[in-house]
Symmetry: C2
Subunit: 391 residues, 2 copies
């Protein structure tokens, strides 16, 4: 079977704010083959910039758009997906956006090949079974300690055993930072896990990050996430050297396999958090997951999109028993919540498993795509290089 169509969808809420909420829009790709099958994928990236990487005119042999490299190609097996991943990436190697953009089509191809072979994606990746994961309810800090405490109480009432608070006012000042973490812990109660996501608050400043780690430690924090910029690998190493009393997590800013390898080897985090919608899809995420295992670093998904993307992450890390944690966004926008016809829910033990396929094992709700679609038209020299088709 050959790739017959690569359909691109920009979806967004009517109003988008500057909150650190990644569920306000999305970039979706549907791949269709000539035997009537289809697969879906989602990037965690700017929809317009990613879309441009599928339709931009050629600049030379290293800037060839993703659609041109993939249309008409045979795709029947996991080896085909890996071959096409390499081909499309190589021919677009001077498009910086390529990894963010390619993530969606790569996920879609795994979904599609899984459907063709009647197998879940984790099986295509070589795993015989999956293991249940502990979901941590991933939310933003409230605007102040009081509202953060209320959010934490609500999470406890929903029965979560772990929660991550991030961004919001974190990084404003020492007193507020500590009050926010204290409030989160008080709201959750003593039994459950608390993760803190600092949202790159201290930029390149390992010393302040270390100080906060010491100040947060009494609240039994499982990890301190992204205290520093993604590129601050030397500073992450410095934080490790200082002997942070709290485990350090990061990695969502790794846009390439090498960035993840560099961060793991030289930044020396305890947890590496990879976004399947940024680093190039399931193909690359699977490689980083295996690297993390070899290097003794705990792999965690970064997910702040729909359950289409949560499923993609689950298929990658589901088969590895020792990787126990799962980022699980709890307060998605209606767009992200309704993008799939069903959601991946906790079982009676409060754990989450990869869907059993075929493919990703989850279906896109076309009504939702239709509701939130933002039609795009791009013309160059008066010629239309892309126009959203009516649904």
């Amino acid at each position: 079977m050959r790739i017959e169509a690569i359909d691109l969808f920009y979806v967004a809420l009517p109003e988008v704010t500057d909150a650190a909420d990644g569920t306000q829009d999305s970039f979706l790709v549907r791949v269709r083959t000539d035997d009537g099958l289809e697969g879906w994928g989602e990037s965690d990236a700017s929809p317009l910039v990613s879309l441009a990487a599928y339709v931009c005119p050629m600049s030379h042999g290293n800037i060839i758009n993703l659609s041109d490299s993939l249309l008409g190609e045979k795709v029947e097996t996991p080896e085909d997906i890996r071959r096409l991943h390499f081909k499309a990436h190589r021919r677009a190697m001077d498009i910086e956006q390529v990894d963010h953009a390619q993530s969606a089509v790569d996920i879609a191809l795994w979904d599609l090949v899984g459907r063709r072979l009647g197998k879940p994606v984790y099986a295509l990746l070589g795993y015989e079974r999956t293991y249940p994961k502990l979901p941590y309810c991933s939310v933003l800090f409230g605007d102040d300690p009081q509202s953060t405490r209320r959010i934490a109480e609500a999470i406890r009432n929903k029965g979560y055993r772990a929660a991550k608070f991030g961004w919001g006012p974190m990084g404003q000042d020492e007193e507020t930072d500590i009050a926010l973490v204290r409030a989160a812990r008080e709201g959750l109660g003593p039994g459950s896990r608390l993760m803190v996501d600092a949202g790159v608050a201290w930029h390149l400043d390992a010393e302040t990050a270390y100080k906060r780690a010491c100040q947060f430690a009494p609240f039994e924090v499982t990890w301190l996430e992204e205290p520093l910029f993604a590129g601050a690998v030397e500073q992450y190493a410095r934080l490790k050297e200082l002997g942070s009393p709290v485990a350090i997590a990061g990695g969502e800013g790794c846009n390439t396999y090498r960035a993840a390898e560099d961060f793991i080897r030289h930044g020396r985090p305890d947890f590496v958090q990879i976004d399947v919608g940024r680093i190039g899809g399931i193909t690359t995420t699977d490689e980083v997951c295996r690297l993390a295992r070899r290097e003794g670093v705990i792999f965690v998904n970064h997910t702040f999109k729909s359950h289409l993307q949560l499923a993609a992450s689950l298929h990658v890390l589901g088969g590895v028993e020792e990787f126990q944690f799962l980022e699980y966004p709890d307060t998605p926008s209606p767009l992200a919540r309704d993008l799939t016809t069903r959601r991946i829910l906790r079982d009676e033990d409060g754990l989450v498993r990869a869907p059993e396929g075929p493919g990703l094992g989850i279906e896109v709700n076309m009504d939702t795509v239709r509701t939130y679609l933002r039609p795009v038209r791009i013309e160059i020299d008066g010629r239309t290089v892309f126009a959203s088709k009516p649904l």
Copy 2:
């Protein structure tokens, strides 16, 4: 003075081929301030994808387009440029394309502030003077050894004392690879420097790269460039470990400061080649140049665009006496050749100097922009988010 307009230009030849010739199109940015000044910059990147990073709708607080972050801002001093570089980059940190895209506006801002202060950019970077550089005539290999020899002879006849041959058939097979380098050396004659650019021919294969380095060594090759992928940092280290008899160069694929730092520290090249039009402009290139100096690695520009970009590179490395080499594209397209009203030429000693300003010290030829302009229109939800203005 405040930024009043950021004008975006996609220019291209009527016909673009898949040859590794980066002068077939370009992305230009003109910045205008409310006191009537302007500055120009150029990215070495996909024009459409880069343009999208200036006009894409906000996705959240980490995906805000470059124009929104810069318009209306005060820009009077180098400190303003650095502050704005940080601000725009921070607010676009989840747009992977940001570095490629931002390069053009960053270069334009240095040009503009130099014009305002009546100083060349190198002076704004803290250098009192510049030193002449040895330009290596940068061309593609011919389609076979015979044509490569003729190209080399022509370069010798033009009086160049150094030349770099790259891409083309390199990497096809052992015999051809060696024949190409032999032909280049024979054509140049014994006296002058020869650099070989393998165009990532051996991907991740350090052993083959080592073997070729040994085979090329008898032809007195100054460096072997990009034998491996940009992300193959571990493999570059392996090549070093194997003891390549030829110096190793690379770095044009470094899209971020960290990628360059990682490559310098862990890939251990002898020469690091940074493209001011990819890594974020003069601000970031200057930082890498200083890092290379501290780390004892020789900094070289990567330039395969117009002399606007050559000027930007020259202002960065011009002030450092020990960095002697300058990539100097010799066979640009008419677009790249005529993009500036004058070209930066070799002096009677065959050397090249940074223009003496103010700003970049070079003027854009608006007739050329007009001739090659590809008007772009982008509509979302029926609303125009970008439309090229008539010139």
